[in-house]
């Protein structure tokens, strides 16, 4: 039963990814007859003949000179080989190479944000739930009331203003040589940590408070369950009840919300990378957008969607491990 559920989830994730792949192919082709027009929009001072020639070249260069169906097949076979197409940048670098260069730097930010957010968030949430109605709880409630209305980029600007410019505790802009000088030496790692401090902090503040509020609500909901009363009536020690009964059950809704929050985290990071000049996929994406570099944009989109699908799949599988009831039926 459990096995079939897992296989079903994996197949469904692949199906969703297939649809995302298809969307990625068609989105740049919406509203234009010739994709070359999208890739190379007409410039003001260009004669019709000149533009026609440019379109001709673009078509040949990007393989638009065959039928759309054939293009789609070529796109899919390219993806199978890990080929996301060629970028518009000078020297026509492969999109895959550009992304692979930036990917680790983006992951540094997102993984540390996620870890800090989860660990601190769950910790604060459990504390607030245990001290329900007291100052720890009210502080969290007030903080989350305010935080949900504060956009991440505003927090980033404030942090950059005070911690970066006024008090100069952390660098407000990423060291442009950080990437090229990185050699796994201790000092290089320290540079990365210093430069990552503000971007991670600006994203983590929201995550911590969000996860904390979620944890607090989940723990309190479980505390009101009948089986906790049973555990008390059994004479179990408070710590046994807390760790073996309450916390384990409260993890279930947190795991579900974790998968859902990944997509938002990725979107927010685009803005944060831009503010701190961080050399990640977010800035790469915005650069691509400014240069109308569709192959690069769509490649990044595909990768980000793939990450989200993977994250949701993993959290779903963790859920199955934690909750024996899932096997009875699909939880959706």
């Amino acid at each position: 039963m459990k096995k079939s559920y897992v296989i079903k989830r994996i197949l469904y994730s692949i199906f969703v990814f297939g649809i995302v792949m298809t969307l990625n192919f068609f989105i740049p082709r919406i509203g234009v007859e010739d994709p070359a027009e999208r890739y190379y929009p007409p410039q003001g001072n260009m004669s019709d003949i000149e533009y026609e020639i440019i379109k001709q070249v673009t078509r040949q260069q990007y393989g638009f000179d065959v039928s759309t169906w054939q293009q789609y097949l070529n796109y899919l076979t390219g993806l199978m080989e890990g080929n996301l197409g060629t970028s518009f940048r000078s020297g026509s670098p492969a999109v895959t190479d550009l992304i692979v260069d930036r990917l680790p730097w983006t992951l540094v930010l997102s993984v540390s944000t996620l870890l800090i957010g989860l660990i601190a968030g769950i910790l604060f949430g459990v504390i607030a739930a245990m001290k329900r109605g007291r100052w720890q709880d009210t502080t969290l409630l007030n903080a989350s009331t305010i935080m949900v209305a504060l956009p991440g980029f505003f927090i980033a600007l404030i942090l950059s203003f005070y911690l970066g410019f006024e008090f100069e505790i952390f660098p407000a802009y990423t060291d442009p040589n950080m990437v090229s000088n990185f050699d796994w030496s201790l000092s290089a790692i320290q540079t990365v940590a210093e430069n990552a401090a503000l971007p991670v902090l600006s994203m983590a503040v929201g995550s911590i408070i969000g996860y904390a509020q979620g944890t607090r609500n989940a723990v309190i909901a479980v505390t009101n369950e009948d089986f906790i009363l049973t555990a008390k009536a059994k004479g179990l020690k408070q710590n046994t009840i807390r760790y073996k009964h309450t916390l384990r059950n409260s993890m279930l809704p947190i795991v579900t919300s974790l998968g859902m929050s990944i997509s938002g985290l990725i979107g927010g990071q685009v803005v944060i990378e831009q503010i701190f000049n961080w050399n990640g996929m977010g800035t790469l994406f915005l650069e691509a957008n400014n240069m109308n570099d569709y192959p690069l944009m769509m490649g990044i989109m595909l990768l980000l969607s793939g990450f989200t699908i993977l994250a949701i799949l993993i959290t779903d599988l963790i859920y199955v491990l934690l909750d024996p009831r899932v096997t009875v039926g699909d939880k959706r």
């Binding site: 109605g133 369950e225 009948d226 089986f227 009363l229 049973t230 555990a231 008390k232 009536a233 059994k234 004479g235 179990l236 020690k237 408070q238 046994t240 073996k244 009964h245 384990r248 059950n249 279930l252 934690l322 909750d323 024996p324 009831r325 009875v328």
Partner: protein, 329 residues
């Protein structure tokens, strides 16, 4: 007979934003060794709160509790600390809840949940605890206890789950078992099985039983003494036979009459008119007077005291019914 439990003047209120909910208003309760006592009343009359207060399971906040005495096996546990209470719960007093589905932890195997009792109260290893658990499951009639112990609650049938709860409650052979509506969530045929099991276990080990229920047929089968509760107060106390033969309080009369009998020739069900008073807006005088056809001005203005009529018979009414009937009985 030794007294197992002596509860005096228990009062529980729940302050809320809209007013004060008066759940329990001065309840006295006595349970002797080997005796089974039933606490009967409609839902919301405070019977569950009373039973949980005996184990001091009602938390403050939200509740506020006042009590003169909770004497358990001769010790006044009124001022026991949380730690001292933890040693008593499960070992000397244990509880069986209504809905086994929600009362068992859904992500822990049934066996593990029973193991916890032995590990906590008898200090045995996990392995030994599992052997005890399998014995306990066998005792309550669970077939293939070794493999059932590895099942999660949702994988068992309702009757099996209730048996798991029973095995858990009897694990440490407590002196007092509190059963809060133990069969309400079950099918009628399984109800009978579980009740028989409960009674035979209780009699065999000379345990005392506090049975909280609204089901009078369960009461007639299981109880020795009956307390009838209405709106937070005890309105009548009597041995079970006497109560069924000659109920004194008009509310008890109504309750008994509302149970359909096979011999009934009338085609309508008799019922008590009106509804239970809201716990924040209780009427003046006797709480039952708005629904009582015998009520007088005296009933409207003053609450009748709980008066002792004979040994083991108490009633909270100025005009008790069926007094002669008992004399003849």
């Amino acid at each position: 007979m030794d007294k197992v439990l002596k509860l005096r003047n228990l009062k529980v209120v729940f302050p809320s934003g809209h007013g004060i909910i008066r759940a329990v208003e001065g309840v006295d309760l006595d349970i002797h060794q080997g005796e089974s006592v039933a606490l009967v009343g409609e839902s919301g009359c405070g019977k569950s709160v009373t039973s949980q207060s005996v184990m001091k399971l009602i938390e403050s906040p939200p509740a506020m509790t006042r009590v003169d005495t909770i004497e358990f096996l001769g010790n006044d546990i009124k001022d026991y600390s949380a730690k001292q209470m933890q040693d008593i719960r499960g070992k000397d007093i244990s509880m069986i809840f209504q809905d086994a589905m929600t009362s068992l932890n859904p992500v822990m195997t049934c066996g593990k949940q029973i193991d916890e009792m032995y590990i906590r109260h008898q200090g045995v290893s996990k392995k030994e605890a599992r052997e005890y658990t399998i014995e306990a499951l066998k005792l309550v009639g669970v077939p293939e206890p070794r493999s059932r112990a590895k099942n999660f609650p949702h994988e068992l049938s309702g009757g099996m789950r209730q048996r798991v709860l029973l095995a858990m409650a009897f694990a440490c052979m407590p002196k007092l078992i509190i059963a809060d509506e133990p069969t309400t969530a079950l099918d009628v045929t399984i109800q009978a099985q579980v009740l028989n099991l409960l009674r035979s276990m209780q009699k065999r080990h000379e345990m005392s039983l506090l049975l909280v229920t609204h089901d009078l047929s369960v009461v007639s089968n299981l109880a020795d003494t009956v307390y009838v509760m209405y709106s937070g107060k005890i309105v009548e106390k009597a041995p079970v036979k006497a109560l069924f033969q000659a109920p004194h309080h008009p509310y008890t009369v109504g309750l008994l009459a509302s149970v359909p009998k096979l011999s009934d020739t009338e085609k309508t069900f008799s019922q008590i008119p009106g509804t239970v008073p809201h716990p924040m807006k209780k009427p003046s005088g006797c709480y039952f007077h708005p629904r009582c056809k015998f009520a007088t001005d005296k009933c409207k203005n003053t609450m009748p005291p709980l008066t002792t009529l004979s040994e083991n018979r108490e009633v909270r009414c100025y005009y008790p019914l069926n007094l002669k009937k008992e004399a003849t009985a």
